[in-house]
């Protein structure tokens, strides 16, 4: 029997959808081992945020109202205390920038090993075997964690968001643990979040990404965005386009940046460095639009339109509009 603690991720007082991927992991493990899972909702407005998570089959929703903006230094002691007071076999969060920042810190506090950014879990004779992408997704390693308590972060694209299973979970407020010295030496100043009417990159069915060949922020807006919107897609970008300042960092797809696996991925003017492929080659159908037939994106593209993007993208936009 393995009990699991899911650490919810909040943004502006509400649970992010990443939390539902961690719940999917928790269901897989607890169903296979006859265990139960709790969800720890930590942050400002935790109690309100917990309400949205009540129908997912958790035994208890634990809430900890830590004041002030998020820092791992402020949150980790409380997560570690909750872990110590209960007999969880696994603590899990999504492998977002939040989960990857917080969970190893929690692991260090309780002497646990970490299985980071896993793509699958299998239970054999009560032992959890984790599969995770390595070498920018060019190798998959299967590993175990040898400590009594194990800390896991899950790749969002590989663990579909849990759907509600009905019922309602008990709620319990937990104590906020004392801060350690580290927390006294880091101060949250501000957070700037990017607002978009478009679907979230990691959740979208269609992603349209642009590379440096778009040449400017204006071209992203005037050439690429109409196609993005005609397809009801999320917009992504290569590292080169973000580095050049054409689009903000949260759009970057790749080994660094986000990993996406939509039904349709359209790579516009992206050559396809290995680091970019790492973030999108799990997509179902991949379309490349590029002048250079030899571009490495061809390694993963199903359809490769050999054309100047400045002609092809507006034409494709019109075609999509008239087809829809």
């Amino acid at each position: 029997m393995t009990d699991v603690l899911v650490v919810a991720e909040l943004a502006e007082g509400a649970a992010r959808k990443t939390t539902l991927s961690a719940i999917t992991f928790a269901r897989q493990v607890t169903e296979a081992t006859d265990g139960a899972f709790d969800v720890l909702v930590i942050g400002e407005g935790a109690e309100d945020a917990a309400e949205s998570l009540t129908g997912y089959g958790a035994r208890t929703l634990l809430t900890a109202d830590v004041e002030g903006g998020y820092t791992a230094e402020a949150y980790a002691p409380t997560v570690a205390e909750v872990a110590k007071e209960n007999e969880y076999g696994v603590l899990v969060a999504c492998a977002s920038t939040y989960g990857k920042d917080l969970m190893p810190r929690v692991a260090a506090k309780i002497g646990a090993g970490v299985a980071s950014d896993i793509s699958a879990v299998a239970v054999e004779d009560g032992t959890l075997h984790y599969t995770r992408p390595m070498y920018a997704g060019n190798v998959f390693g299967t590993m175990t964690v040898t400590t009594d308590v194990q800390v896991v972060t899950v790749r969002q694209t590989e663990f579909d968001a849990a759907t509600e299973s009905g019922g309602s979970s008990d709620t319990e407020e937990v104590d906020v643990a004392d801060a350690t010295e580290a927390a006294g030496r880091i101060e949250f100043v501000s957070i700037e979040t990017v607002k978009s009417e478009r679907p979230e990159l990691t959740e979208a069915d269609v992603v349209v990404s642009g590379g440096r060949s778009l040449k400017s922020a204006e071209n992203f807006e005037n050439v690429l965005e109409p196609l993005v919107d005609a397809l009801g897609a999320a917009m992504g970008a290569s590292r080169a386009a973000v580095d050049a300042g054409y689009v903000p960092n949260d759009l970057q797809i790749g080994q660094t940046g986000k990993v996406v696996a939509p039904k349709l991925y359209v790579a516009v003017g992206i050559s396809g460095a290995i680091q970019h492929l790492a973030g999108m080659k799990g997509s179902k159908t991949i379309v490349a639009i590029n002048k250079d037939k030899e571009a490495p994106i061809a390694q993963v593209a199903d359809y490769f339109l050999v054309a100047d993007l400045f002609d092809a993208v507006p034409a494709l936009t019109d075609a999509v509009k008239s087809a829809g």
């Binding site: 920042d101 190893p104 980071s116 995770r132 700037e192 580095d243 960092n249 159908t285 339109l305 054309a307």
Partner: protein
Amino acid sequence: MKILVPVKRVADPDNANKVKVSDDGSRVTSDGLEWKMNPFDEWSLEAALRLTEDAGAKKRVGEVVLVSIGPKDEVQTIRQGLAMGDERGILVEAEDDDLDSHVVAQVLEAIAKKEEPDVVFLGKQSADGDSNVAGTKLADFLDWPLVNYAMHIATDDEGKTFTVKRELDVGQQTLKVTAPCVFTASDRILQPQAIKNGVTADDFAYPESDGGRYASLKGIMQAKKKPVEETTLEGLGVTPTRVNAYGSFTLPAARTGSTVFLETVEELVEKLQTEAKVL
């Protein structure tokens, strides 16, 4: 300002798709691939150099100490960093098979306690393991604050305090940190004006770059004379406790089908509608 920068080598990350798995699946083999400094470490190293120099006067004003943990060959990774301008190196000899993120964090903790740097500046992950764990564990072992994925770092008191911006999935966060502290870098740390150290003129801009600086011939010659201290886990008093055990490795399934090259938008739309059925 004194900065400790851990560096390691990885199989050429630009050819990571050529990495193989042994027939019995027990090992990853990178035969035929060159060793390169982990690119994420290289960015941290470059950022550390920028924090500790007067870029206008091309003068070093602080100290960067490189540390590498691994087989004796790792000294080459250290020499490469020393050629870029770092002051000295520490090689902790260990077998790769004895290391995981936890052990690396244990070793770095011991070195940080001995060296007492203002900052430990790590790559956020290694391009082979892609774990993203060692830096964060290290920070907690030391009970130091950490900024993961730093994209902009400013100090006006020689590294006693920093204002740091870091990248998030949902945007950016700004934090104030008091040294000693730990940083990991995001891609954006190499932007021309991402580092403000209070010494280099505020309007100074580094050239656009997606990696660390090139070593000059003079730098390469000087690197040969710079001190590299050699030690071991035992020498540091570290009892390694591995917590991760890899059982097997596999290569990802190849994408099915071959690439269909098309000349016109009409052909593409037709394929997407009737073949892929995504429009």
